[in-house]
């Protein structure tokens, strides 16, 4: 679900204020979960490489959001960035708790992902985990038809013809929608300013 500031839809930051001030805090947390649950879960799978650990991470992250709501300061950065930091910190904590002592040298926060990918250097891992977060958010912010073609074509590896068969869309529409989806993704990443250095 896109993060939006449309008149009737509260922004992430407004939802955090609701949690901190006790104005329907459960509903506010529920909405944030709907917006970010997939991103946090996907990051958990990528960083921890295990569904059970990723579920544990999701729970801990959102409990931290709840417990730390009063420490969130929107003037110091957006909610997404704050949540990313929490997610990475919890991932490191889960590794520590699991006591994988042979990998203790990697427990430095910046290196957590290298537990899964020993071929990457620390800086590359940090860059990739932050980039992955931003792309994941950009995907969530895409309109559903565009997100759908990216998921089917890129993540599920379907050919354009297969997508046309599966969705009933004309082949030409699938192709043009794929193109527009990639352009919008690029635009979304550019708008956030988060990935200009990459794109």
């Amino acid at each position: 679900m896109p993060r939006t500031s449309a008149s009737n839809t509260p922004t992430d930051e407004q939802l955090m204020i609701r949690i901190a001030s006790g104005k329907e805090p459960d509903a506010a947390l529920s909405t944030l979960y709907d917006r970010y649950g997939r991103t946090v879960y996907g990051s958990g799978l990528k960083l921890l490489g295990d569904r059970s650990l990723a579920e544990e991470l999701v729970q801990e992250v959102f409990l931290k959001v709840w417990r730390s709501s009063r420490s969130f300061d929107p003037s110091r950065g957006g909610f997404s960035t704050w949540l990313y930091r929490i997610t990475r910190s919890v991932a490191v904590d889960i590794h520590r708790r699991r006591g994988i002592s042979a990998l203790s040298v990697l427990y430095e926060e910046d290196n957590v992902a290298s537990i899964r990918d020993m071929t990457s250097g620390p800086q590359e891992i940090v860059d990739n985990s932050w980039l992955a977060w931003r792309v994941s958010r950009a995907l969530e912010n895409l309109d559903e038809p565009y997100r759908e073609v990216i998921e089917l074509s890129y993540f599920r590896g379907l050919s354009q013809r297969e997508i046309a068969r599966e969705t009933g869309m004309p082949l030409g529409t699938v192709k043009s929608r794929t193109l527009r989806a990639l352009k919008r993704l690029r635009q979304e990443l550019g708008v956030t300013g988060a990935s200009r250095e990459v794109l």
């Binding site: 879960y41 579920e55 709840w66 995907l139 890129y154 794929t178 990639l182 990459v198």
Partner: protein, 230 residues
Amino acid sequence: MDCAEIRNDLGAFVVGGLEPPESAEIRRHLKFCPACQEEFRKLREVKRALDVTPQPLEPPPHLKKEILNRIHSESPPVRRSRRWFALSAVAVALVAAGAVLWAILAQQATNTPVAVVKLTPTPHYSSVLNERGYWGVAKFYSSHSGNQRVELKLNNLSNSRSKESYYEMWLVSGKDRLSAGTFETTPGETDVWLNAPAESRDYRTVLIALKPKNEKYSSGGKIVLRGERR
């Protein structure tokens, strides 16, 4: 195919969704068309960003419910905040009562435990732990941040370092509970420091739970030790 047709297919080409003959035609076109090459370069950068991105997957449906259940079992932030303000008011009153008294309290806050709680095995674990020669206490110290620092001294709780489980300390008041953190034990004496939130000051029951590492986090674990703060 002209440039317009090529460009319409470029997105599909970048994600590898075209049939081999279509891809071959685009490759041929790109070799001699700088404008389309530039368009291709931009799209390929997006594809590279996707390469490091995890596949969007819905978390299991039960997770959200479990999270909402857990926050219901905790004091909501606003209530905690009210309690904190209440504690602050008490602190201000104490300061007003006299600088000498405050100095004494401050001295006690940093050096002397404000409570020492004996932690005894729960019935299910009493036999094995008593045989092992277990004893343990939790020492509570106040800190300038308002949190409580807790020193756990646990002897012979475990006779080996477990790779399958860890412990969590809970402070309980009625149906509310707050975690003071997790820890692992070492054979013989375990001495760990945990940090409990300020509002846990009113939570009188101390529980030490054993939690398997491969279990879902939603579980509170098996209660191994218990103590009451007086």
